[in-house]
Amino acid sequence: MQEAMIAKAKAMLADGTVDRVIGWKRGEFWYDITPAVFETAEEIDRDLVFDDFTAANVSKYLIKECVKGGGRILVFLKPCDTYSFNQLLKEHRIDRGMIYVVGIECYGKIDPDKIRNRGITGVKSAVNDCGTLKIETVYGTETMPAYEVMAERCLSCKSKKHVVYDELIGEDGEVTDSDRFDMVEKLENMTAQERFDFWRGELSKCIRCNACRDVCPACTCEHCVFDNDKSGIANKAPFSDFEENNFHIIRAFHVAGRCTDCGECSRVCPQNIPLHLLNRKFIKDINSLYGEYQAGADTDSRAPLTDYTQDDCEPSVVHERGVE
């Protein structure tokens, strides 16, 4: 896959179809891969990588690249990234004419935290041999089935289908029968107090680094109210012990109906807060109240929360359900 991507990127740069390539750049270790914009064949040969650790969703970088102008941009998108791409198109945040999308097959990505949580450290290399991950460390060799350390969002992958592309490398997959709402259901079945305690426990770990917001492809405000000292609600740190709890709840409301469930928020959270569960709750509710809807599945449908039909549920439906 990586070789095909490198060849494709170099060919398109060479014939002038594109003048930049967005992909992933090799790091110091086995897992520390950085999203990157490549401009030359040399850089691509040296640094472009695609493996079990290229987890970052690079679609949001297109906003900045489109604003820069210049020639066309080649972007490599995994199936889940294509949903974010479509949503950005739908919200007129990126210019389709400037972008050449190469869809790439994905079997799920490994979560380095899951490896660390097994007490494995001092890693020198990690190789995936047909589904068996072999990790060489200074303390010895460890092997494990790769799926055991796969990221949670990949274990409950919603789709291996690319919803948009100009060209594909590898095979296109299908929308999968995902169990992604299981944990949401579990939370719904808790008592209000249990649920409150669960979220208080999780959200109180927040250090207000804003990584979830900054990585989120649905969070594209040019100047977030929480950064804007003129907004009256800007803050760099929680003043009260409930403030950052509120921040996440409000953010989830803000992206409701637009969140494609790419899972980047939870991937980047330094405190491992399962933020995606807030968004999934909204997705599940929208599905049940307005009919099945997947943000980013297309670019022309009307989103349930910004559309009005006479069949819309009455606000009281939502209200009554909240009463215990």
């Binding site: 790091g27 110091e28 270790f29 897992y31 520390d32 891969i33 950085t34 999203p35 990157a36 914009v37 970052a56 970088y61 380095p112 935290d113 660390r116 949580n117 007490g119 450290t121 001092g122 890693v123 020198k124 460390t137 200074v138 303390y139 770990k205 250090i207 207000r208 680094c209 804003n210 990584a211 917001r213 900054d214 990585v215 100047h223 950064d227 000292d229 800007a234 803050n235 760099k236 740190a237 929680p238 003043f239 991937r267 980047v268 330094p270 405190q271 491992n272």
Partner: protein, 339 residues
């Protein structure tokens, strides 16, 4: 050296907690460790590092400075400082222990930050020597020996024992309060184990990282480097690196309007944020490139320029693990060194 069997460590912790408020790293359900106040049944984590560093004890993320109460045209200023009790931080690693010295250079120089000093004075730091360094460790680059972490008391784990050695008067007083639990033991095996840990460390990927090309005299060489553009390109502008960093020390002072007064508080700031050091005159670092450059120039050049060569980094490796896009000080150093 004094020691106690590792299976009796809970007794030791309970005895310390009886004398003073005790904080220790414990494992959370998500597999990561954090410092928490000791409670009955608390188990000391074996994790190499906590997510948040130990700087929180002296330089908390938010801290109330004072209050203003208004009534009509009357303004009352309220001193909200609280008395600080003696406390013990147990299990601090060598890198975090060094970070306190770096923070001291900022907060204990004239004018002394009394909020910070108050907590420093009341704390006894008990360190834990490392015996299982990670690939992200590079404390050696700053002259730190992870097998000799210092602090008021140093602890070492070896062969089923926890060895305990007091380094300061404060440390001696703490060890005396738990003396009945400790026995004398031979340290020959411990010395061997320390040497082994160093051998392992030498095989780690960053073991040869050197600071030779950095320091206070490198301002002109690096400030205008064309590398900053590429290095900062993918930066999200989030505050993760600065907030988990044991040495990042910038803060902002903000007012919270209660409707009938003001609560003035200090909170961590991050040079990664768009409002960092914004003044009436505008934002001196208008793009992420300048903000990103500020963070690394501060640690690698400006801080040593102002502090007799001391770098503003201790090589704990937290930013290497936690940056959402895996950009970090090691990558920056290696890129700047490439000519």
């Amino acid at each position: 050296m004094l020691r106690i069997k590792l299976d009796r460590i809970d007794e030791l912790l309970a005895a310390i907690a009886k004398a003073q408020t005790l904080y220790l790293p414990v494992d959370r359900s998500d597999g990561q460790a954090e410092f928490r106040k000791w409670t009955e049944g608390a188990r000391l984590s074996n994790a190499l590092n906590t997510v948040r560093s130990a700087k929180d004890f002296f330089f908390p993320q938010t801290e109330k400075l004072m209050e203003f109460k208004t009534e009509g045209k009357k303004i009352e200023v309220v001193d909200t400082r609280e008395d600080c009790e003696d406390f013990v931080i147990f299990g601090v690693r060598a890198c975090d222990a060094r970070s306190f010295e770096i923070l001291d250079k900022v907060y204990l120089v004239d004018p002394v930050d009394t909020f910070y000093k108050n907590r420093r004075d009341h704390a006894t730091v008990v360190t834990m020597a490392c015996d299982r360094p990670a690939e992200t460790c590079f404390c050696h680059a700053y002259g730190i020996d992870m097998t000799e972490p210092g602090g008021d008391v140093t602890c070492y784990k070896q062969g089923g024992y926890l060895y305990v050695n007091a380094n300061t008067d404060k440390g001696t007083r703490l060890v005396e309060t738990v003396a009945s639990l400790l026995e004398d033991g031979d340290t020959a095996e411990l010395e061997k184990a320390k040497a082994q840990t160093k051998e392992i460390y030498a095989q780690l990927p960053l073991a040869k990282l050197s600071m030779d090309n950095f320091g206070g005299d490198k301002m002109d060489e690096y400030f205008n480097s064309p590398k900053w553009k590429e290095l900062s390109e993918a930066c999200l502008g989030c505050g993760t690196c600065t907030f988990i960093c044991p040495t990042c020390q910038c803060f902002d002072i903000q007012d919270f309007n209660t409707g009938h007064g003001i609560k003035r508080y200090r909170c961590w700031d991050s040079c990664m944020y768009s409002e960092f050091t914004k003044t009436a005159g505008g934002q001196p670092r208008p793009s992420q490139l300048e903000r990103f450059r500020q963070r690394f120039m501060h640690k690698l050049v400006y801080f040593p320029a102002n502090n007799e060569g001391e770098f503003g980094c201790v090589g704990c490796g937290r930013c290497l693990v936690k940056c959402p896009i895996s950009m970090n000080i090691v990558k920056v150093m290696k890129a700047l060194e490439e000519k």
